[in-house]
Point group: C2
Chain length 330, copies 2
């Protein structure tokens, strides 16, 4: 008999989706970074829910404070991709019986710190008894304008990211497999895992320019996220300036690992990946710079429905792989 | 060291709440049935999230279809108490590795059936790997009018419920402890557990009358919910027509149980409990009747801050007890 174990996360989602009567005129299609509802007054309510689970999402070295904050970052990142300001957060907690009062205080403080960091607050929630720690957040925002979807990229659009990739997998390898790294590098990798940051200011600035044609956050990894835009927009990408962190290559060399795998097929990275119409590029870059952020031009959208990346004078075909629950044993 | 086990659910919630910077001007205070955000255009966004957990919320005889539907009922019931129409639902799923594809299909069908039953739909969500089945729902609605809170009841207001209490605890005892009951009675008790119903039409009709002064759903049991309104509104109640199901008394007699405990200190009952200004009573009752529902006058709000119930010519003082996670072993 087929179980969740053989199916994998994406087939489970597809199995559930097939049972649902999906509304035909949703402002955001099922499966994009956020969900949305058009209200009677024309405003669009934007909603996101994402669950942090102890066993799969919290490395042993992560504190309860950091875990609670991360649960918020995960949700804010999806609103950020769509340029939506968070207006309030709900928290559904699942707490194991053995957890101490001190840890519960830390969870509360981490939730509050995460909300404040992104200019919002916790407005309610509920508490339950579970075997493993569960922090399920629902985030709410609203917009008058249409939301930029994953499906709007056109051939010729500029492909850009708000930062570099490849830091979290080395971080996890250091934390879980005890791999070594020089102090500064180690700090940077571990920080990417324990203190991820959502690119909210960047996302809000980009949405205001009106220049983005497709957006996604990169929590399923660079390769997977690029394939998502590619699939949804029916285009491909040619990437000639890959956004790879230099440290990842040094770390890979030290431990005889494939640096491209670390950069492409990671996950739990929270950079935004966007396509921008060529005329709007300068405006978009200046808007993000103005908020103290980065916008790196990494390539362009192509007619050919494939993702090619130029690296070391080789052309590499990027596979549609990424972190998937049930399939990974980490 | 204090753990969740000794603290109990309500102290855990209080511990978390103390760490949060609560917004001072929220349209609905922290801890009411729903949460809300005033939007720039004046509309109030109403949000609710509640989590169904396999071990505590799903009796062994409950199917996956029923469990998924119940997760939705739990959330709709809170919107119903506030008279808010659900406009969309998000689903965060935690799925154990061992679950079969057939069960996943049943979860999808149950989610869809629950959403349709209350005139709404699933607009998004996420899937995760957990040890126990977790179905965390976030429900969204909106209103132009102020939300009726738990704190608006005044002495002299009429206390009413949309139905009778005492069916779910016998149902759980039949399912879990294999207690016996005559066929018809057994069916009714079990139905209350496996197929609970949210009083959405009743709640929407009541809100339109503008006659309610305080409202709550009764998912923590009749006694607890009455105490919640009492605490929030700083009033008491005198109940002279208790809304007790007749079958519960027969069942209690058969098994030598205290029928009042079954009726007062149950939980997972989804009737609405409301206070109504005396002038509005007739209007309120007709509005609910018009939707095919019931509105039972059970007593009135009093100045004295205590909850007294007249039963069999005795006056009983109702304690503030109800189902609480971590404290119950069921």
């Amino acid at each position: 008999m087929e179980t969740a174990n053989n199916l994998g996360e994406r087939e489970i989602i597809e199995t559930i989706r097939k049972q649902l009567s999906i509304e035909p005129n949703m402002p955001v299609p099922f499966g994009d970074d956020v969900s949305a509802i058009r209200q009677k007054n024309g405003n669009i309510a934007v909603l996101k829910s994402d669950m942090l689970v102890g066993k799969t999402d919290i490395p042993p070295q992560m504190s309860y404070w950091q875990a609670a904050r991360k649960a918020i970052v995960m949700n804010i990142s999806d609103l950020a991709a769509k340029g939506i300001e968070p207006l309030g957060l709900l928290v559904s907690l699942g707490i194991p019986r053995s957890i101490t009062k001190r840890s519960i205080v830390q969870i509360g403080k981490g939730l509050n710190a995460g909300a404040k960091e992104y200019g919002t607050s916790i407005i309610g929630g509920d508490t339950n008894e579970t075997q493993d720690l569960i922090i399920s957040i629902a985030a709410f925002g609203a917009t008058k304008k249409d939301v930029t979807l994953r499906r709007g990229a056109h051939p010729g659009d500029i492909l850009a990211t708000t930062g570099l990739f490849g830091l979290t997998l080395p971080g996890l390898k250091i934390l879980k497999e005890k791999l070594s790294a020089p102090l500064e590098m180690r700090k940077k990798f571990i920080d990417a895992v324990l203190m991820p940051r959502a690119r909210l200011q960047e996302g809000l600035a980009l949405a205001k320019t009106g220049a983005t044609t497709a957006t996604i956050d990169s929590s399923d990894g660079l390769a997977w996220s690029l394939h998502e835009i590619s699939r949804a927009s029916n285009i491909g990408f040619l990437i000639d300036c890959p956004p790879f962190a230099q440290e990842t290559f040094e770390f890979a060399k030290m431990h005889n690992l494939d640096p491209l795998k670390l950069c492409l097929y990671g996950g739990e990275e929270y950079e935004l990946i966007v396509t921008i119409e060529p005329d709007g590029w300068r405006r978009a870059q200046e808007a993000v710079f103005g908020k103290g952020g980065k916008l790196l031009k990494i390539g362009k959208a192509t007619v050919k429905h494939a993702i090619h990346l130029r690296h070391d004078n080789r052309m590499i075909d990027i596979e549609a792989k990424g972190y998937e629950h049930f399939k990974h044993k980490r």
